[in-house]
């Protein structure tokens, strides 16, 4: 038993070293740095001053507000659209694999590249989106250059880019449902609605829980899409700034790593809380 345990440590060592070095240490270091001020080579312990600073900083509050809004709008809407599309492809479409591949493409394409394409689509003057809106005689806003529209644009982009991963995972889950469940429901005379709400949705709950967790965490860490959409800025006049944008800005541009780390710790706590909350919620909805 003893020797066995020694051996176990040996085999675990590579993982332990890597996890400690690249996950645990950075977390602890970030936590420590949030109580320090000065540049990276000259850090001093200054207590809660960084936290006092960010809580007084209106830009921080805007970043948090944008991030939270983004998460609570784009995640449920994106997931709902994903479920709908996955169900349609699964139920009605022939050549599923072709569509699945098509839908998965955005996931393997660089967000920066997609962002650049979307800059054209969203362009207020010659963009495709506004062309369509004008054809339908609808209001055509300035998606990129109007500060009031920044968050909306980011959310639309976020929803679109979340579809790929979600649909592929949901298709897998749909495929795992025993087809006899539907055969027998048909025999009992169940309608399409009955089948969707009483069989498909409950069977998808574990998958939806997983996707919700992944999507929420991803949403709180939003950065690249903002960067790509607004050409390296956080929208006009920082109107589309997000938590990670704020952190990056304070760390790299302003050069106050302590402030950045304080914001990181706050973001970490928010994600932890959000994940915990939705776990509880999904548990109530029902697991096996």
């Amino acid at each position: 038993m003893k020797t066995n345990q020694k051996k176990a440590w040996f085999f675990l060592a590579p993982t332990i070293i890597f996890v400690t070095l690249f996950s645990i240490y950075p977390i602890l270091r970030a936590f420590g740095m949030s109580f320090q001020s000065g540049s990276l080579i000259d850090l001093r312990w200054t207590g809660f001053s960084n936290y006092q600073y960010i809580f007084k900083d209106p830009e921080f509050w805007l970043a948090i507000k944008n991030t939270v809004l983004y998460a609570i709008i784009s995640v449920p809407v994106g997931l709902a659209i994903s479920i709908m599309l996955a169900w349609i492809i699964f139920d009605k479409v022939k050549h599923k694999s072709f569509f699945e591949t098509t839908f998965f493409m955005p996931y393997v394409t660089s967000t920066i590249a997609i962002g650049i394409v979307f800059r054209y689509i969203f362009n207020g003057d010659y963009g495709m989106l506004n062309f369509v809106l004008r054809c339908l005689h609808l209001h055509a806003p300035d998606w990129i250059d109007d500060p009031a529209m920044s968050l909306t644009t980011i959310i639309i982009f976020g929803i679109w880019s979340s579809l790929a991963f979600n649909i592929v995972i949901l298709m897998g889950a749909l495929r795992n449902i025993d087809p006899n469940f539907y055969t027998i429901a048909d025999m009992f005379g169940a309608s399409g609605r009955d089948k969707f709400w009483r069989i498909t949705m409950p069977e998808l709950v574990p998958t939806i829980t997983f996707l919700l967790t992944m999507n929420v965490i991803g949403a709180f860490k939003i950065y690249t899409s903002v960067y790509a959409l607004f050409n390296g800025q956080a929208g006009v006049g920082n109107s589309g700034t997000t938590a990670v944008f704020y952190i990056y800005n304070k760390f790299q541009i302003v050069g106050t790593p302590g402030v950045a780390m304080a914001a990181t710790v706050v973001l970490f706590l928010i994600i932890l809380f959000a994940t915990f909350l939705q776990r509880k919620m999904m548990k109530k909805i029902g697991e096996y």
């Binding site: 006899n180 025999m187 005379g189 169940a190 309608s191 009483r198 069989i199 409950p202 096996y288």
Partner: protein
């Protein structure tokens, strides 16, 4: 309304898209309230027939009548059938009660929750699963899941119950118990039941009658004991019976049946059992192991290769024409492995088949 033809299948034929002819001109009928077993080796078409009856598959040709009315063009949900799948297909996210209630709370004729619960409770009492009401299927044993599936199939009060190998997921001992339960249950409900199985013992024990299929053709449609006593052909004789029947190659001459080791005088056979005049030539003589027994006056002598004990009886094994032959004897008979013994056949119990499998005696 003809109660003897409650379910009637007429000249049914099914060719799958890949060209495989699963069913070739099958006709049979089922009496109201009967429990009929569709028996056959895998790939014989029995499940295809069940699925056609259920409306899950369309027949290529032929007609199906339930209670005198053709249902070929009727949707599965309007056929008044209950169906139990081999793997039960219980909804894992629902409790037992919710599973049993499911057929009552969906579709166009849905009932109120309270009414559905009342009916579901009645059938759960009948299948003895009332105390499992709040459990999820994942926590139930195979036998319990089986009962839930049956209760769910019965709540819509169908006229016909279709079961596709419902016992194949259970262990041997439970299978014996559940098959008796199924029989007494369907009899107490009085529902006409078609039961697909590949297990002859299962079919013999619970079926009011058995329809034996092979290669998409009915081999015999009869009462259980007749498969044993009066098999229609060589396939039936060899499919039904445990241990399996012994077969001897013989040549018929003017007044004798000759094998490599024995000769039977045709006059010793019961003349009334001949189905027709048979010409001289090659035939197969088949005899059930209990009808070929040790006797000092025996027909031929052989060495006991091996002895297998099966409860009350023992199977003696011999080699004849390089094939194994068995004799079923009483446990007490003092015969040992390696003994040289003489064997006798009961001539009024043997069968004679042509090489094509047609029974002639």
């Amino acid at each position: 309304m003809d109660n003897n033809k409650f379910v009637e299948v007429k000249n049914l034929r099914k060719v799958y898209d890949n060209g495989h002819e699963a069913i070739k001109n099958v006709s049979f009928s089922v009496k109201k309230g009967d429990l009929v077993c569709l028996l056959g080796p895998s790939g014989c078409g029995k499940t295809t027939i069940l699925n056609i009856l259920a409306g899950l598959l369309n027949p290529t040709e032929g007609d199906i009548l339930f209670n005198g009315k053709s249902v070929v063009k009727v949707a599965p949900k309007d056929r008044h059938i209950g169906y139990v799948f081999q793997n039960y297909a219980l909804y894992p996210h629902m409790t037992v009660l919710q599973n049993v209630m499911f057929p009552l709370i969906v579709g166009a004729n849905k009932k109120s929750k309270a009414e559905a619960k009342k009916i579901a409770t009645k059938y759960m009492e009948l299948t003895q699963i009332t105390e499992l009401a709040d459990q999820k299927p994942g926590n139930l044993s195979g036998g319990q899941q089986q009962r839930v599936a049956i209760a769910r199939a019965l709540v819509q009060e169908p006229q016909i119950l279709l079961m596709d190998e419902p016992l194949s997921n259970l262990d041997a001992r439970l299978r014996l118990k559940i098959r008796e339960e199924i029989r007494s249950l369907v009899k107490s409900v009085g529902i006409t039941t078609l039961f697909v199985t590949h297990d002859q013992e299962e079919a013999l024990s619970i079926g009011d009658k058995i329809i034996l299929f092979n290669d998409g053709v009915i081999q015999q449609d009869d009462l259980g004991q007749n498969f044993y006593l009066e098999p229609n052909n060589y396939f039936v004789a060899n499919f039904v019976g445990n241990p399996v029947i012994d077969n001897f190659k013989i040549t018929k001459t003017a007044n004798e049946l000759k094998s490599s080791q024995f000769t039977i005088n045709l006059a010793d056979l019961e003349q009334s059992r001949f189905k027709r005049e048979i010409p001289d030539g090659e035939y197969i003589l088949s005899v059930r192991p209990e009808n070929i027994v040790p006797d000092p006056e025996g027909l031929f002598e052989t060495k006991v290769d091996d002895i297998e004990l099966i409860g009350r009886e023992r199977i003696l094994k011999f080699t004849f024409d390089n094939q194994q032959v068995r004799s079923l004897i009483n446990l007490e008979t003092p015969i040992k492995r390696g003994d040289q013994i003489k064997l006798k056949m009961r001539f009024n119990r043997v069968f004679l088949f042509t090489p094509e499998g047609e029974r002639v005696y």
